[in-house]
C-alpha cells in the first residue's frame, strides 16, 4: 500500500499518519536549523557577550551531550522494544516538546556564560531524546515506498520556512515565534499521547515492515541486516554534514557573499533560495525512490565539490555587488539532496528492533556531531582570523576528496567482490583458456 493508493481507496489513516509525521518533523527540523544552530550563536555572542571562540566550544559541548543522550535513548528504545511502540514514542515526544518550550521561552533571559552552559546542557536532553524518537516515527507512519517523497516534503517545508522566516536572525525573534508554534502543537500532541485516540490506535496497528535496505533478510538476521552498509553510510553522511556546515557559516557571514545567501536583505533572493530548496528536495525524493543510493551520494558529493569551487571562484573574481545566484542555487540543491536522504535513509536501514539505535547513530553522529563540530571549527577559524578564501580552500579540498573517494571505494568494493567470487572458468571470446587457468590462489 502506498499513500497514493490509500488516497485512491479513501483510506485516510495512513495518509493522516504520514501528514502528522511531515508536520512534526518539518517543525522539529526548522527548530533545529534556526533556533538551535543560529540562535545559539546570536545568544552567546550578542546577549551574553561571549567571544566566538567560546561559543564554538559551547556548540561542541551541545553536540557531544546531545549525541550521548541520543545514543542512550536509542539503546533504551531498542532494548525495551519501545522502538516499535508508537504510543510510548508519542509520550516521549510530548515530554520533549514541553521541555523545549520552556527552554525556548527562557533563552533570551540567559545573561551569563555559566547560565548559557547550563542552558546548553539542559537543551541537550530533549534534543537527544527527540532524535531517535522523531526519526524512528517514519518506521511507524510512512510506507516504505513513500519514504523518499515524504522526506522530500519535510525537507522542502523546513527549508522553505527557514529561508523566508524570520526576517531577523535574532534569538528573541526565534524564541517568540517558536514558542507560539510549540504551544499551539502541545494540545494536539497531548491528545495523541493520551492513549485515548482511536486514530493513534489504528496507526499503531499498521505493520509497515522493515526498512527498504533490510528487506530480504530473514527475521533472525534482520537485527544485523546491512550493518556494514550502515557504518559506511554513517561515515559518508558525516562527511557531507561536516563539509556543508564548515563552509556554510563562513559563507553566510561573509559580507561579499551575504547578498546571495539566506541572510540576504533582498526578499527576491530569499524567495529564490526557498523555492530552490523545495525543487531540490522534490528532485531528491524522486531520485531516492528511483535509483540506488550510491548515485545519490555521488550527486551530493559532486554538487558540494562544484558548489564550493564556485564560491572560491566568486571570491577571487567577484566585485562588491550581489554574487550570481548560481552560487546559492547549487548550494541549496546539495543541501536539499542530503537532507532528504538523511530523513529517509536511517529508517530504511532499520527494522523495528534496530530503529532506535540506528536513527540515533545516523542522525546523531552523521548529522548533529558533524554539523556542530564543523560549525565550531568554522567559528574558531573566523575567530583565529583565517581568511575566507583560505578557509574555503580547505572546504574545497574536503569536498573534492569525498567526491573522488566515493567512486574509488565503490570500484574497489566491486573488485573485492569479484576477487572473492574468482575469475570465471570459461574463456572469454578474446581469451585463450590457458589465460584463465592459473593456480587457484591467483583466482581467489
Amino acid at each position: 500500500m502506498t499513500l497514493l493508493q490509500a488516497v485512491r481507496e479513501r483510506r485516510w489513516v495512513p495518509v493522516l499518519g504520514a501528514g502528522a509525521y511531515v508536520a512534526a518533523l518539518a517543525a522539529g527540523y526548522y527548530y533545529n536549523l534556526t533556533f538551535v544552530q543560529l540562535g545559539l550563536v546570536d545568544l552567546g555572542t550578542r546577549l551574553v557577550g561571549m567571544e566566538r571562540r567560546d561559543v564554538s566550544v559551547l556548540m561542541a559541548v551541545l553536540a557531544v551531550a546531545t549525541l550521548v543522550v541520543a545514543l542512550a535513548t536509542g539503546v533504551v528504545l531498542d532494548r525495551r522494544g519501545w522502538g516499535a511502540d508508537l504510543r510510548i514514542k508519542l509520550r516521549v515526544l510530548l515530554a520533549v516538546v514541553v521541555v523545549q518550550l520552556g527552554l525556548t521561552v527562557a533563552a533570551p533571559a540567559v545573561a551569563t556564560p555559566r547560565g548559557l552552559l547550563a542552558w546548553v546542557l539542559v537543551c541537550a536532553v530533549p534534543l537527544g531524546c527527540g532524535i531517535p524518537v522523531m526519526f524512528s516515527l517514519m518506521g511507524d507512519l510512512v510506507p516504505v515506498a513513500d519514504r523518499g517523497h515524504v522526506a522530500a516534503v519535510v525537507a522542502g517545508l523546513a527549508f522553505f520556512a527557514a529561508a523566508l522566516f524570520p526576517m531577523q536572525w535574532r534569538v528573541e525573534e526565534f524564541s517568540r515565534m517558536l514558542a507560539v508554534g510549540m504551544a499551539a502543537a502541545l494540545p494536539v500532541l497531548a491528545w495523541a499521547a493520551s492513549g485515548r485516540s482511536r486514530l493513534v490506535d489504528l496507526l499503531a496497528a499498521q505493520d509497515l515492515g522493515p526498512g527498504r535496505f533490510c528487506r530480504g533478510a530473514s527475521a533472525g538476521e534482520r537485527a544485523d541486516a546491512g550493518r556494514g552498509t550502515f557504518v559506511v553510510l554513517v561515515v559518508l553522511m558525516f562527511v557531507v554534514f561536516f563539509v556543508d556546515s564548515l563552509g556554510f557559516l563562513r559563507i553566510v557571514e561573509a559580507p561579499v557573499l551575504m547578498a546571495a545567501s539566506w541572510q540576504s536583505t533582498d526578499v527576491g533572493v530569499r524567495v529564490f533560495i526557498a523555492v530552490t530548496h523545495v525543487v531540490g528536495a522534490a528532485m531528491a525524493g524522486v531520485l531516492y525512490t528511483a535509483f540506488a543510493r550510491r548515485w545519490l551520494f555521488l550527486w551530493i558529493f559532486g554538487l558540494f565539490a562544484f558548489t564550493h569551487l564556485l564560491y572560491t571562484f566568486a571570491l577571487r573574481g567577484g566585485g562588491d555587488g550581489v554574487p550570481p545566484l548560481t552560487l546559492p542555487l547549487f548550494y541549496v540543491l546539495a543541501v536539499s539532496f542530503y537532507t532528504t536522504l538523511n530523513f529517509a535513509l536511517w529508517p530504511d536501514l532499520s527494522t523495528a528492533r534496530t530503529i532506535g539505535l540506528r536513527t540515533a547513530v545516523g542522525v546523531g553522529v552523521a548529522g548533529w556531531l558533524a554539523s556542530f563540530l564543523s560549525t565550531a571549527l568554522a567559528l574558531w577559524s573566523a575567530d583565529a582570523g583565517v581568511p575566507l578564501e583560505a578557509h574555503l580552500r580547505w572546504v574545497d579540498a574536503l569536498a573534492l576528496l569525498a567526491l573522488v573517494t566515493v567512486p574509488v571505494v565503490l570500484y574497489a568494493r566491486r573488485v573485492r567482490l569479484l576477487a572473492r567470487e574468482g575469475v570465471p572458468d570459461e574463456p572469454g571470446p578474446h581469451r585463450p583458456a590457458a589465460a584463465v587457468a592459473g593456480p587457484a590462489d591467483l583466482r581467489r
Binding site: M283, W299, G317
Partner: protein, 283 residues
Amino acid sequence: MSPDLIGLLLLSLVLLTSGGDAERVEVLSAGTQEVAAAGAVVVAGADVVVPAGEAVAGPVHVLDGSLVLDGAVEGDVLVLGGTLELTDDARVAGVVRHYGGEVLAAPQAAVRVEGLDVVAERGGPVQDLASTVVGAVLLGALGAIWARRRPGGVAVVGDALSHHPVVVLTVGALVAVTGISVLVFMAFTLVLLPVTVLGLLAGAVLVGLGAVGLGGLVGRRLPVGGPAATALGTVLVVVGLRLLGLVPVVGDLVALALLLAGLGAVLVTYLGLRSFSPVALPA
C-alpha cells in the same frame, strides 16, 4: 547567466585564446568593479570602470553589463552586448568593433569605432520557418537512422518517457543545470575550453536523441511503421516544440520540460541500450 550569454562567453573565450592574444583573461560576471593593469578582460554581466589614468592591456570584450572607459585600452575592444561608455578621456589604441549592444562615445574620446548593423534584428517568419524545417528534417533523419540501426533503442527511450516521466524529467533537469554550469566553469580555465566545446556538442546530441525518443513515442500513434514512423514523429515533435514556443512563458516551459525529459530518458537508458526500471520498492 542566460544561454545567449553563455554562447557569447564561449565565443569570446575562443577568440581570445585561439589568436594567442591573451595568456590571462579576467571574466567579470557580477558586481561593480574597477579594473586597472589587467590583461584581457571579458565583461559578462558586471558593471566595470577603467578609471582615468589607468590602462588595460586588452583585448576587451563587452558581452553583457557595462564598461565605462575613462582610462585607456592598449588593444582592441569588441562589443557584442551590454553598454560601452567612452568618456572624453577614453583612449583605445586599437579599434572598437561594435556588433551588438550599445556604444556611447563622448566627442573628445580618442577612439576609432567600426560597426556592423548585424545584431538585434530578429529573423522574420520566413527565416523562422526555414530554421524549423531544417531542424525538423535533420532530426527526422537522425531518428530514421537510429531507428533503422537499432530499432529497440528508440522504443526503450520512449518507454522511459511514457512510463517514468517524473524520473526522467528530474534526471534531465539536474544533468542540464549541473552540466551547463560545469562546462562554463571549465571554459573559465581556458585550458579546458576545447572540452567545453566538446561537452556542449555532446549535450546537443543527447538533447537531439531525446527529441527523437519523443518522436518515437509520437510515431507509435501514426499509421506508418518502422523508421519512417520515428522520422515523421520526430518532425512533428520539432514542429510542436516550435509552436509551443509561440505561447508565452507556459509554452516555453512545457517545451523545455519535454526536451529535458527526453535528455533524461536518453541518459537513464544508456542511450537506449538498456531499458530503465526504477529500483523495486515494497508496496
